[in-house]
Amino acid sequence: MAVASKLIENNFRMNRLPHIWCPGCGHGIIMRGIAEAIENLGYDKQKVCIISGIGCSSRAPGYMDFNTLHTTHGRALAFATGVKLANPELKVIVISGDGDATAIGGNHLIHAARRNIDITTIIFNNNIYGMTGGQYSPTTPHGELGTTAPYGNVDNVFDICRLAEGAGATYVARGTVYHAKQLEKNIENALENKGFSVVEGISICPTYYGRKNRKGNAAEMMINLKDTTLDKKVAAKLPPEKTEGKLIIGEFVNKIQPEFCEEYHKVVDKFTKED
């Protein structure tokens, strides 16, 4: 008897599973979604390259049966930029945590967005630093607790999607692990965008964020995701009172613009064709 579904067998390094994530950690759901999106799109796995930084989420590539690179904290996109420009044939996916992508890695995120380099970034946003044990991150809501915010976080949060948009990303979407199917679809669309794509996947960390902030167990945190989010299209039809305080999910940007590697290759081609 097989121990896992075909999807898992086809796309994961079976001998590396089960993964190290805690019981109920949402990260596994997003990781599965990425694999399913890749499979749905029929990409050649030899040409798929998955790159991450450091964090719980950043452990994902180690489990996935592609060309995989686990780099330094926050720098995945900079490594990915090198890989992609050096070999534009590769389908490059970056997996990152909210801390990894937007705290220490914030600069690489906005510059990759500015360049519109053809990389798909999936941010596993659990609103906390999981790997180091529950410090607040740039997405920990104001007032909530973290080990370094013992009296309630005084910081404001990033709206990752607005940040990515402001920096120039050509595909931007947000989904949650509760809305796993939609999230998978967002990832597919992101992968199909020729340019820089950001998908913010709202995850859950029952171990730290959940426990610190009394959000209940994993299942309760999932239900909470259902209750506190609204689809963009649905929200558009509601009066403001009904959308207030809700996290909007859905696609925010999906546009076509010159892609960095293609632009660069126009220069190279000019010379190599001359020869």
Binding site: I20, C56, G133, Y208
Partner: protein
């Protein structure tokens, strides 16, 4: 030679073994002994398997890690397998009744008792299994006094749970007394 006891508390994350280790060490200080508590992590700081170490001695403790333990508490099979090789030949293995151990010739003493079940059913909170375990260790080793242990426990547990924890300690003591 000095009187030195090395105690290893093992199980899985969330069982409160680090806190138990701290309490045990603090109890030793109350007894005017020296104590060092340390723990080791997996590849990262987050959850997973858990191990707390306590060394108690009447002289200065230099090396803070356990080389061979005098006492080994195991609350999971995984931790039993990992740490049993380092138990001294004349050591004590305290192992939860739910955990299978290998039936081999051993020279160490085995105390198999229902730590978790006692916490859940006798005390009423699985959370206090770590305190039950402390009672067991005290009774089995007398490495610290009951007075100091109780004082140390009460100092560390959340307000309002004192009675519960005192009861947990008592149940721990009893478990050993009843153990044949």
């Amino acid at each position: 030679m000095a009187n030195r006891t090395e105690i290893r508390l093992t199980g899985s994350g969330g069982q409160g073994l680090i806190l138990a280790g701290i309490i045990l060490a603090e109890a030793a200080l109350l007894d005017d002994l020296n104590a060092i508590q340390s723990q080791s992590y997996g590849p990262e700081a987050r959850g997973g398997a858990s191990k707390a170490e306590v060394i108690i001695s009447d002289e200065e403790i230099f090396y803070p890690k356990i080389q061979n333990s005098d006492v080994l508490l195991c609350l999971t099979r995984e931790s039993y397998c990992k740490y049993i090789p380092d138990l001294k030949d004349d050591g004590i293995l305290i192992i939860d009744s739910d955990v299978d151990f290998d039936n081999i010739e051993t020279s160490y003493k085995i105390i198999q008792i229902p730590v978790i079940e006692t916490a859940t059913h006798e005390v009423g909170k699985s959370m206090v299994a770590n305190i039950v375990a402390l009672g067991v260790i005290q009774q089995a080793t007398t490495v610290v006094t009951k007075e100091s242990l109780e004082q140390a426990v009460l100092k560390r547990v959340p307000p309002g749970t004192q009675e519960l924890n005192r009861l947990a300690l008592q149940e721990g003591y009893k478990l050993v007394s009843n153990h044949t």
